[in-house]
């Protein structure tokens, strides 16, 4: 006995009216790209559900991969047998015993092949009775079963679907355009990336790197965070910005209370330039109100002045604990807490202004010409693509 295919149920897409096809197409692409290294399997799309035809492959690892694809509400493994009572019974028994953590079940039969001699209601009882007789420790619960065993008797065969495995929900990544995520090595920005991806947004990242103030390890940490995020969507391009010179200059010429605000404004300017060049229509940050000096209402007002791109701030009203919860759930927390300096911690002044005044910031910035340095920085941006499946090959021979 083996599983023939995996059934994919849509999440919020199901609510989309005439645009549904755009979303399901995107989802199909995303599923295909997630399993592209397994050549024998096929992804088929229908109006209200999708199927992965297994062609003999083990369903478990495929389900494990697909659980993180946004736009999928739930997955079930399914068996196909002939419309023959004994075969259906055996398959149902297999599905029940194979499921984990199930104590109660119910059988739901749908019979579209009216030539099948037993009526649906009656067949529920026949099958339920058979399962109870041939197992131990299970009971039937028609209201809230641990597992609903669905039996569809169609012309071309009988389909038996087992346990519903909940998946990521949300919308298919790529169905809501693209954003440029300001990705530091901290806890917040990867969570912000994850949440925008969940709303169907494809993410590119920008990272500010200031060697030797920040190390290769800090950069590696960001790559590892991005790799973790690729689990939920596509590969991610990271624009690594060589920020040292600009940061040192800011540090030298701007009064210390204001250097942090100016540095953030520089980051915004650079990010907007990159977004504009790449045709990306928004920026995303991990800002959360009141968390640090740069995230007060006054600071954000002053920083935001340099861009008129929409800045998405999915964490803006979240508590730190809640952000940490998400980061643990998506496995970025342990990477984020690796203890390396990042560009935001090295140059932090002792007492950054929590209420910077916009006029003063402008006045300080205008006293100095940053344009050449900004242009030079932008010219030297390095783009790294983090692929969800490709790994670093440098150590492959050793491992």
């Amino acid at each position: 006995m083996h599983y023939e295919y995996i059934l994919i149920r849509y999440g919020e897409i199901a609510l989309k009216g005439k645009n549904r096809k755009i979303f399901t197409q995107k989802l199909q692409e995303n599923v295909q790209s997630k399993v592209k290294d397994i050549p024998s399997i096929k992804v088929k799309r229908q109006r209200d559900r999708m199927y992965i035809l297994l062609n003999g492959q083990d369903p478990e690892p495929i389900i494990e991969r697909c659980r993180t694809i946004f736009g999928i509400h739930s997955l079930s493994k399914a068996i196909k047998v002939d419309n023959e009572e004994e075969q259906i019974k055996k398959a149902a028994l297999f599905a029940l015993q194979e499921a984990q953590g199930v104590k109660t079940f119910k059988v739901t039969t749908k019979r579209t092949d009216k030539e099948f001699p037993v009526r649906s209601q009656q067949f529920n009882q026949v099958l339920g009775g058979y399962l109870l007789k041939n197992t131990e420790g299970y009971t039937v619960d028609v209201h809230q079963p641990d597992m609903e065993l669905r039996v569809e008797i169609r012309q071309d065969g009988t389909y038996i679907t087992s346990q519903k495995i909940l998946a990521a929900g949300g919308l298919p990544v790529g169905s809501s355009g693209k954003t440029l995520l300001l990705l530091s090595g901290g806890i917040d920005s990867p969570v912000a990336g994850y949440l925008t991806m969940k709303r169907g947004v494809q993410v590119e990242a920008v990272h500010f790197h200031s060697p030797p103030f920040t190390s290769e390890r800090a950069k590696q940490k960001v790559f590892d965070l991005a790799r973790q995020l690729t689990k939920y969507g596509h590969s991610i391009r990271i624009h690594v910005v060589p920020f040292t010179k600009l940061q040192q200059k800011v540090h030298q010429v701007i009064p210390h209370g204001y250097s942090m605000t100016v540095m953030r404004r520089m980051m915004m300017r650079i990010s907007e330039q990159i977004a504009s060049k790449e045709g990306i229509l928004s920026l995303t940050t991990g800002e959360s109100l009141g968390q640090v000096a740069s995230q007060t209402m006054e600071s954000m007002h002053a920083i935001n002045e340099v861009t008129n791109y929409p800045v998405l701030r999915p964490l803006i009203t979240m508590d730190k604990e809640d952000i940490i919860d998400v980061s643990q759930k998506i496995d970025t927390y342990d990477i984020s807490i690796r203890p390396y300096e990042d560009c935001c911690t090295v140059f932090v002044p002792d007492a950054p202004k929590t209420m910077p005044r916009k006029e003063k910031v402008n006045q300080f910035e205008q006293a100095e010409d940053f344009s050449d340095l900004l242009a030079e920085t932008l010219e030297n941006v390095e783009i790294v693509t983090i692929d969800s499946q490709a790994k670093e090959e440098e150590f492959d021979a050793l491992l």
Binding site: E64, Q100, G101, R217, D331, D334, K391, L399
Partner: protein, 379 residues
């Protein structure tokens, strides 16, 4: 030389040795050092952890690299006991565990823990119902091996895992040292919190191993220090050993996929020829682990047979190498209720994916000859 003692240790893969030397030469930096050499070593360590996690379908932070099976078992058992003694001081294990589990438990008894050593049936099997019946308010840990090192019996880990899942206070540890790479065991969603794997049983190097420790499992460390390995196993990482271990894990899983049938076939052949020898009685339950056959030749001293066979070039062992120096009677066989004539005359033949048909045939012939040779003296 025909080596049929693969449950004691295995010959390392050449690729594993190559990895070890290359890493030792090239990545000798301390992964905790800040400079570039340290950073490269750390990156390699991260990559090794990542690969181990992928291969075992678990999370990276759930992998703790250890020095082998004994350390893994001790870390799990004492780690849980010491960290959770306020919740309760009762542990459930079985009579047929490896000494590194049994002795760890006996050590804890000295500290005031109470241990239930579950009996087994005549095949060496634990009854899951007995596990459940032994659980009390005080129970904090169940430690059961997957594949028995002497008999090859496969314990009903999945069923015990299902039971363990229903008791949130309980941790479930599996000694998977003999089973890994030969008998599949799924770690995610199985109710298993801790699982020990050893390098030298899978053609890796001695002194390497790993412990799976499910996210959220709190262990009191055996080694305190610099906080390496999530603070569960401090001490400068054995990078070359670790990388070579992860390579061995990859290679053995590949072999398991490709050579499963071959191994079973070799065991079948061995079984068939042993079955024909009238002095021999096979102790291993039929249909269990594909690499271990335990047999007894009542009246023949096992040590004598082993020496005679090794003179002919065939290397096998008595019970487990870790306890073979201690006493004559196999406690595992005794626990299965075997009479002393059987439990004091046991031999173990253990195969690897590389065992060849002619080796099995040669062995059978050599054993047969040896038995004839000694039949007048001992039989």
């Amino acid at each position: 030389m025909i080596y049929l003692d693969n449950s004691a240790t295995t010959k390392p893969y050449q690729e594993v040795i190559d990895s070890f030397t290359q890493v030792s030469e090239k990545y000798y930096g301390n992964p905790s050092s800040i400079h570039r050499t340290g950073a490269e070593a750390e990156k390699l360590l991260l990559r090794a952890r990542q690969q181990a996690a992928e291969l075992l379908h678990v999370k990276e932070e759930e992998i703790v690299f250890t020095s082998g099976g004994t350390e893994g078992n001790n870390t799990a058992i004492k780690g849980i006991a010491l960290a959770h003694q306020n919740r309760g001081r009762h542990i459930i294990t079985s009579q047929v565990e490896h000494p590194s589990v049994l002795e760890a438990c006996r050590g804890l008894e000295e500290l005031g823990f109470s241990i239930t050593y579950l009996p087994v049936n005549n095949q060496g099997l634990i009854d899951p119902a007995a596990v459940e019946a032994a659980i009390t308010e005080e129970t904090i840990l169940i430690s059961i091996m997957h594949v028995n090192n002497e008999l090859g019996t496969i314990q009903p880990i999945e069923e015990i895992g299902k039971i363990a899942k229903q008791y949130p206070k309980l941790h479930f540890h599996v000694d998977h040292v003999q089973g890994f790479g030969k008998v599949p065991l799924s770690l995610p969603n199985s109710g298993i919190d801790l699982c020990t794997i050893s390098g030298h049983k899978i053609h890796g190097l001695k002194g390497t191993g790993l412990l799976f420790s499910k996210k959220g499992t709190h262990l009191f460390p055996l080694m305190h220090g610099g906080g390496q390995e999530q603070s569960i196993r401090s001490g400068t990482e054995n990078l070359a050993g670790t990388v070579s271990l992860v390579k061995a894990v990859r290679l053995i899983l590949e072999e398991q996929k490709k050579q499963k049938k071959h191994l079973l076939e070799m065991k079948e052949r061995l079984w068939t020829c042993l079955d024909k020898m009238k002095q021999v009685s096979i102790n291993s339950p039929a249909g269990h682990a594909p690499h271990i056959i335990n047999l007894s030749v009542p009246g023949y001293k096992p040590e004598v047979l082993i020496h005679a066979l090794s003179e002919k070039g065939y290397y096998i062992s008595t019970k487990s190498a870790c306890s073979s120096k201690n006493q004559d009677v196999s406690s595992v066989l005794a626990a299965c209720g075997k009479p002393e004539a059987i439990s004091s005359s046991a031999l173990r033949i253990s195969l690897s994916y590389h065992t060849q048909q002619q080796e099995i045939e040669g062995f059978c012939k050599a054993l047969d000859e040896t038995l004839h040779q000694f039949s007048e003296v001992m039989g």
